[in-house]
């Protein structure tokens, strides 16, 4: 049966060639879309790893004019105490500019055992940083006052980096190189769960948290605060006033993490929606085209079909044959398409995990088969309904 179908397709190779090119092109488009969707969906399903509700960010960019480090430290301490004394505020921490959902990233290459691990995110926070963001510790502990003034820097890493560096071996208490390449040793004191600081669609990344030391206060110009649920705008106004009268020469801006999250997610969502609309239109276009061409081809073969009916073929077997032909045709183009698709995981283009490509490949195969079956079904039914007497009479 299949051999017969192949023969029929081969006999009309010129006409079928174009159909195959069309199916091939649609397969590639569908494959691209599914890859993106599967990738984003997998990332979306992972837990956030921290709590962003009721967390506010206070930006006070710039304090260039303050001279000595001691003044800065005292000044920062005073602000922290002032904020802590407010009943609406549960926890406060200074933070580097790469607060969750911000556009700012600090990353670099981490040297460990002579191998460089690139793109390790570097966050700086205080002892209360994990309270503000509700980070979940898996091993060890977060920074404490005891980490101050030691020879080694205390750092916390996330699970992904832990696995990359130590596999299943012990991590807490180990030493790793510094991201910036300076020679001071970093001692791991804890491991936190992977977080999605860059929005719901962020892939797993390597994170490293540093304890804010005296030198870093010069450039820390962000505060993150955890407020009680339902803190009012009125309170926010007071908080703003407090901050701007405390830091005279700075612009003070308060942002809510929940709002920043929406903005950040839109950066991933909007291109995805546009792509889906465009791809959807392309698919409708292709479906209509396939349908039209198949229908036309079948209507040209009335004589042949009439003859088969006359010698005893049932209507079902006729429509089966026509749908089968379309499926064999699509199989041929899908084989070529798969050859191209397989290059993506093999050549490590775009740096996505192979599982994503395989899933996307399976989904696209299924999608194209369904599409072709749908397009061939109605013309097949029409053909099955051909009355042999009428068809043969025309001939």
């Amino acid at each position: 049966m299949i051999r017969h179908l192949f023969k029929m397709i081969w006999n009309k190779k010129k006409q079928n060639m174009l159909l195959m090119v069309e199916m091939l092109a649609s397969f590639m488009v569908v494959f691209a879309v599914f890859t993106l969707l599967v990738y984003n969906y997998q990332n979306y399903r992972r837990e956030m790893g921290f709590e962003s509700d009721n967390v506010w960010v206070i930006n006070f960019n710039n304090s260039e004019n303050i001279a000595s480090l001691d003044t800065i430290l005292m000044f920062r301490e005073a602000i922290r105490n002032q904020l802590k004394s407010m009943p609406e505020i549960k926890a406060v921490s200074y933070s580097s500019a790469n607060v969750p959902f911000s556009m700012s990233t600090h990353n670099g290459t981490l040297d460990h055992n002579k191998q460089g691990i690139s793109s390790v995110n570097r966050y700086t926070g205080e002892d209360s940083y994990d309270d503000v963001l509700d980070l979940e510790l898996k091993e060890g502990r977060w920074f404490t006052k005891a980490d101050f003034g030691l020879k080694d820097n205390a750092v916390v890493i996330n699970s992904a980096l832990r696995e990359r560096l130590f596999g299943t071996g012990p991590a807490v208490g180990q030493y790793i190189g510094d991201v910036s390449g300076d020679e001071r040793r970093n001692k791991i004191v804890g491991v936190v769960k992977d977080t999605k600081f860059k929005g719901d669609f962020q892939a797993v990344e390597y994170d490293m948290f540093h304890r804010a030391d005296t030198g870093s206060y010069r450039y820390l110009s962000q505060l993150i605060v955890k407020v009680i649920p339902g803190a009012s705008t009125d309170f926010e106004g007071r908080l703003h006033k407090t901050m701007s009268s405390a830091i005279k020469n700075a612009n003070v801006e308060i942002e809510h993490l929940s709002e920043k999250r929406v903005v950040r997610n839109n950066l991933s969502l909007v291109p995805m929606i546009i792509l889906l609309i465009v791809a959807g239109f392309l698919i409708i276009n292709v479906a209509l085209g396939l349908f039209g061409v198949l229908w036309y081809n079948i209507s040209k073969r009335r004589g042949e079909i009439g003859l088969r009916r006359a010698v005893g073929a049932s209507g079902v077997s006729i429509s089966k044959q026509l749908v089968g032909e379309a499926l064999v045709l699509s199989t041929l183009s899908l084989i070529i398409g798969s050859f191209f698709a397989i290059q993506f995981p093999l050549l490590h283009l775009f740096d996505l995990p192979s599982g994503v490509y395989i899933m996307a490949w399976l989904l696209s195969l299924l999608f194209i088969y369904l599409l072709v079956m749908l397009c061939a079904f109605y013309p097949g039914r029409q053909a099955a309904a051909i009355n042999p007497a009428v068809a043969l009479h025309e001939e």
Binding site: N62, N249, G289
Partner: protein, 411 residues
Amino acid sequence: MLKNYFKIAIAVLRRRKFFTFISLFGISFTLTILIVLAAFINNIARSAYPDKKRDRSLYVMLMDQRSEKNGRNSGPPSFYFLDHYVGSMKTPEKISIASMFNATNTYINNKKLVINVKYTNDAFWDVMEFDFVEGKPYITQQIKNADKVTVITRDTRDSYFGEGVSAVGKYIETDNETYRVIGVVEDVPVTMLYAYGDMYLPYTLSKRDYLSKELNSNYTAVLLAKSAADLDQMKSEYQDVVSKVPVKGKEFDKLYSHADTYVASYTRILLGDGMESGIGKMFLILSLVAFLFMLLPTINLVNINTSRIMERSSEIGVRKAFGASSGTLVLQFITENIILTFLGGIIGLLLSWGIIFYINQSNLIPNIHLTIDFGVVFLGVLCCLVFGFLSGVYPAWRMSRLHVVTALKAN
């Protein structure tokens, strides 16, 4: 002759309505998407309120300091650089200096307002042609005195003082400072980075130290030439100025900054590198995307056209038998196809007009106003031609090679 082709084309279109529908659907939607995209790009690139003199302006948004060892420090230049070095240039008629917008908060009647503040010099008001709803801009003397005066946009006025309430002479508070409103201007879309802000202030009020001699900070400049012919001279003078800037400290050893045309000032940030502006790269990427996007509908159309043409084999056979050359037939079918694509193009234009109308109405992107201008329509027509030609050539060629006898016999 052409009239005849037209008649035949219409007759064929009406014969197989389903096929006609598929063709028109494909063409019109492809064009709609391309036209809406073009309208967006056009909206970003062309001169518009308040930046109306783009044809004789150059833009500066990037100061790129580098060294082999310490990596790079790139971002907007500082006020000092723009004022001290760029300010000494001879060719520009006016140099507008303005900061990037900074978000500030104000709390009024239990409501939070986010006001984006832009610090500017006085030439900003001459280079940008703002429409004043009321009042006027601040002048050199007010900047020198560091007077606490401000120009706000209509939106800011409406949400702070109430809809349509006159604001000139009143006081507005943001970021814990109070300013006297001296002017209200029409709103600017956020896509106009050089002009956008909710509130404009004299640069002397900036809380950042605008006298700091750092080269990188957060200011941008627009250099206005006397005429478009002076742009090249202005570019080279700018390079002269940049080459004289001492690279301070041990940190960096190379310094790049350019005065670019509007679009190039953006592509330089996204795709540029050192001396390369990245505008060529952008065109390449855009045309590649458009090509890939049009590929599928074109193949689809080729498929449909082939079916349709083969259906007319008897007509072709007869015409050939009576001596029509292959060339004439190919020409006829391509003409017919172009007529079809133009029909689709008209529908596509109407559709995109509707979509653009919707985007403008719904305020999907605040204050943006998309238009379909002559350039976009021209692009649409060009797309139609290419589309019609490409999808018509192959089927016509297939058809013209039909043997007379087979063509006649087929029926």
